[in-house]
């Protein structure tokens, strides 16, 4: 069976990863000299508490090629085909590490690495769908094709309560258009060609949620949905309830945005990912 590997920015929680046999390689969060493995040695709650209240500005680093090589070697004991799907190479060097890890691996095994050009559940939903295919016995070539098409069907919509963190972290991408307003406006953005790209601006949280809901409702068919947040579980619950009108509520993946993205998304952010149904 092909083994699926991704990074912690896919926002796939460990229980789900275990269930589907997915290996999640963590990125590192640094508060000054204190280093934490994303979701392994720092919880999401702890992270956001420090982000908002702490004086040290956190930074993040990609996993080392060695970390990937170790994963490849370990998985090579069970399989001879590995598929790695990483977050956008324009946001992090993780893709490079995953590729570099291939030459460091000592055991013989075929490893394919795909740059998803997206992040968060935009990546996560694709990884989950791919892992299911792998469990059903799909071969590596089949899976890489599937991933490329599925990424085209994956649409991430992010509501930022503030762009302060994104700008500060230097990851603002084309969303810089949304900065510098004299009114308090809330930006909505997506990830396009691997970068955060503006969609529009709204004046309030509620208007932002309406915009997200209407965007999701406008898709002719929806295969899967994910709702994730940085610091507001209650609002994420409400959004999930609301989206229950489009797909069964229980099927909606709930997650928190990885601290590594949280560094940029900031508190109060909420994201919905749509995995569009396959076009017939």
């Amino acid at each position: 069976m092909v083994k699926i590997v991704t990074d912690s920015l896919s926002d796939i929680t460990s229980d789900i990863a275990q269930g589907l046999g997915i290996t999640v390689v963590p990125l590192t969060v640094l508060f000054g000299h204190e280093a934490y493995l994303d979701r392994v040695t720092i919880t999401t709650d702890e992270f956001y508490r420090r982000l908002i209240n702490g004086s040290v500005w956190p930074t993040t680093t990609q996993p080392t090629p060695k970390a990937f090589a170790d994963v490849y070697d370990k998985l090579a004991e069970q399989t001879d085909e590995i598929l790695v799907i990483t977050l956008s190479s324009k946001m992090s060097g993780t893709y490079q590490s995953a590729t570099g890890g291939k030459s460091l691996a000592t055991k013989k095994c075929r490893v394919e690495v795909i740059d998803s050009q997206t992040v968060a559940m935009g990546l996560g939903l694709v990884v989950l769908a791919t892992a299911k295919k792998a469990q059903n016995g799909a071969k590596l070539n089949e899976l890489t094709d599937f991933v490329h098409h599925a990424l085209e069907r994956s649409h991430l919509i992010i509501y930022f309560d503030t762009l302060k963190y994104l700008a500060k972290g230097g990851r603002i991408g084309k969303a810089s258009n949304l900065l510098g307003s004299l009114l308090s406006v809330k930006p909505l953005a997506t990830v396009k060609d691997g970068e955060i790209t503006p969609i529009t601006r709204v004046r309030s949280f509620a208007a932002g949620m309406d915009h997200i809901y209407n965007s999701v409702a406008a898709f002719p068919s929806v295969e899967a949905l994910a709702v994730e947040h940085t610091t507001n579980p209650t609002e994420a619950d409400k959004m999930t309830d609301r989206l229950g009108a489009i797909v069964p509520k229980e099927s909606i993946r709930r997650s928190t945005v990885s601290p590594v993205i949280g560094v940029y998304a900031g508190p109060g952010a909420l994201a919905v990912t749509v995995l569009e149904g396959e076009k017939k």
């Binding site: 004299l182 009114l183 308090s184 406006v185 503006p198 529009t200």
Partner: protein
């Protein structure tokens, strides 16, 4: 801060302070040098003015540390020498001339006072004009001249405070920068202010801030770019080329020798190209020229002395790079928005939300079709949305359709809040037609309250109104009258169903004090705790308050 207090007591500046002052100003310039690059359209839109000025300043600061002693005169001499050695580009060379003039003004001074400063600025202005064969107004030259004149006037009024004199110079420089498009057509056409003038303003502003003792706070701030006075432009525009003649080569070098004569060189090189600058003394001369034949310039100069820091750059290539840079900066070349707005605060709000050009006007001064057309033409985009923001302007705006080849769509916004709502609804992913629909829908979702005074007595909607009485309109409909703006606003809010409302934005006008506006908004917050209330200075005439309810 201790430094500021010391300075007030002494009111003179030592050589060491002069160096710190210019170093602070250089750091200040650095923070906006790339934005200044983007303004650059004259004499050639190659987008390097800010960088060139910065490199010139840096070179002068480095040299300042090598001054033989710490007198103001020695440091200023070193600054001038460093600037000359490191001058890059047109504006850099002129800047070096300015430094040269400053040093001349400060000669033999151990330290200098406000009066000395004014004199040095004047010398700087004279020197700036000197190096150039055909000075053009509406550039860094004009800005230097205006700043120096303002400083001189202050001193003549008997002012001896360095801060006050410098304040006058900086304010004059800001006005002068804003006015550059009126003097130089290519700036007007491109909708920008002069980049070199902007750079000089930023340096002077940095000096002023140092004098005020703000050096530390400056690390966390950024210089403001001066906005053009006419027409107001929101975004940095892609410059239009004046004609299709090639720009040729920007040729620069430093010549070292003996008994060099700048005047003779200048007259010899005069006919060989444009933007000629020859500056320096009898041992070091810096030459800058735009020419189609750099070879002839170089061979002439080589006979006079040794050449250093020779740079010959193809400006047509630079221009292409500049266009690329503009593209990368995310200047949207496809769709632009023009808005009719009265009031500087409101103009800033529209600009900050991405409006490309603003036509001043509103209730009592309706702009002409021609003015709107000009703004439409000034925006480097083929598809234009117009936000008239006033009932009486909608028709005028619609005339623009037939007068331009551009694809123009008027979103019939009748109030400022409608205009802002429409602007915000712009969807970066959607096409023009979809956006027109989204923006039109958005304008109808916002409620507008306007508080103003009656121009005449009347009886309307069962209300008896005296002339000059405070009246309130809801979506253009007269709804209430009273003695005080606050009272009338409350009456209208009381008539609204605020259950579904989320945000109230209060834009207060020129006739209204900021603390009064704060009191009004606190009142609204207290009465409707579920609402988010925002107060913004609109600076609009006639209307005490324009309020949007969303």
């Amino acid at each position: 801060m201790a430094r500021g207090e010391d300075m007030k007591a002494a009111e003179t500046i030592s050589g060491q302070q002069l160096r710190d002052m210019l170093a602070t100003a250089t750091n200040w310039l650095e923070k906006s040098s790339t934005e200044i690059d983007a303004l650059n359209v004259f004499p050639v839109p190659d987008g390097d003015t800010g960088t060139n000025m910065l490199l010139t300043m840096r070179s002068s600061i480095e040299e300042a540390y090598r001054a033989p002693d710490s007198s103001a005169s020695a440091v200023a001499q070193a600054v001038a020498k460093g600037a000359l050695m490191g001058a890059r580009g047109n504006s850099g060379v002129i800047l070096s001339q300015i430094c040269h003039g400053l040093a001349f003004g400060l000669r033999k001074k151990e330290s200098f006072s406000a009066i000395d400063l004014a004199d040095a600025l004047k010398q700087a202005s004279v020197s700036a004009y000197k190096g150039i064969s055909n000075p053009v107004e509406g550039t860094i030259l004009t800005v230097m001249k205006d700043a120096a004149a303002a400083a001189e006037e202050k001193v003549n009024d008997g002012v001896t405070s360095l801060v006050e004199v410098m304040e006058a110079a900086v304010n004059a420089a800001a006005e002068s920068v804003a006015n550059t498009p009126n003097l130089l057509p290519v700036l007007r056409k491109s909708g920008v202010v002069d980049a070199g003038g902007q750079g000089l303003y930023t340096i002077l502003d940095g000096v002023l801030r140092y004098l005020r003792g703000e050096a530390e706070q400056m690390q966390f701030r950024k210089p403001q770019l001066v906005a053009s006075s006419l027409p107001q432009q929101g975004r940095v525009q892609t410059p239009t080329r004046v004609d299709e003649t090639p720009y040729g080569y920007c040729t620069e070098f430093m010549l070292q020798g003996e008994k060099l004569d700048s005047d003779v060189m200048r007259s010899r090189l005069q006919k060989k190209g444009q933007s000629l600058i020859v500056v320096g003394d009898d041992t070091t001369v810096r030459v800058h020229i735009h020419t189609n034949n750099p070879g002839s310039i170089v061979s002439y100069a080589a006979k006079l002395g040794t050449m250093h820091q020779i740079s010959i750059r193809n400006m047509d290539e630079q221009y292409q790079d500049f266009l690329e840079m503009q593209k990368e900066r995310g200047v949207d070349v496809e769709t632009g928005t023009v808005a009719v707005v009265a009031g500087d605060g409101l103009s800033d709000v529209f600009t900050s939300l991405g409006v490309a050009a603003i036509v001043p006007g509103g209730q009592t001064m309706n702009p002409s079709t021609k003015e709107i057309l000009q703004a439409v033409k000034s925006v480097p985009a083929e598809k234009i949305f117009i936000l008239p923001n006033n009932k009486n302007v909608v028709l005028t705006a619609q005339q623009v359709h037939s007068l331009t080849d551009k694809h123009v769509e008027v979103i019939p916004t009748e109030t400022i809040p409608q205009g802002i709502a429409a602007l915000l609804a712009f969807d970066y992913e959607a096409d023009f037609e979809t956006n027109a629909k989204l923006m039109t829908e958005a304008k109808d979702r916002v409620k507008t309250i306007e508080i103003t005074r009656a121009v005449r007595s009347a009886q309307l909607n069962n209300l008896k109104i005296r002339k000059k009485q405070v009246i309130g309109l809801l979506n253009g409909e007269l709804l209430a009258a009273g003695a005080e703006p606050r009272e009338v606003l409350d009456k209208i809010l009381g008539k609204l169903d605020l259950k579904d409302a989320e945000i109230v934005t209060v834009y207060y006008g020129t006739d209204t004090a900021a603390d009064e506006a704060e009191r009004v908004s606190t009142g609204i917050r207290d009465q409707y705790p579920n609402l988010q209330v925002e107060v913004v200075r609109g600076g609009q005439p006639h209307y005490n308050y324009i309020v949007s309810v969303e």
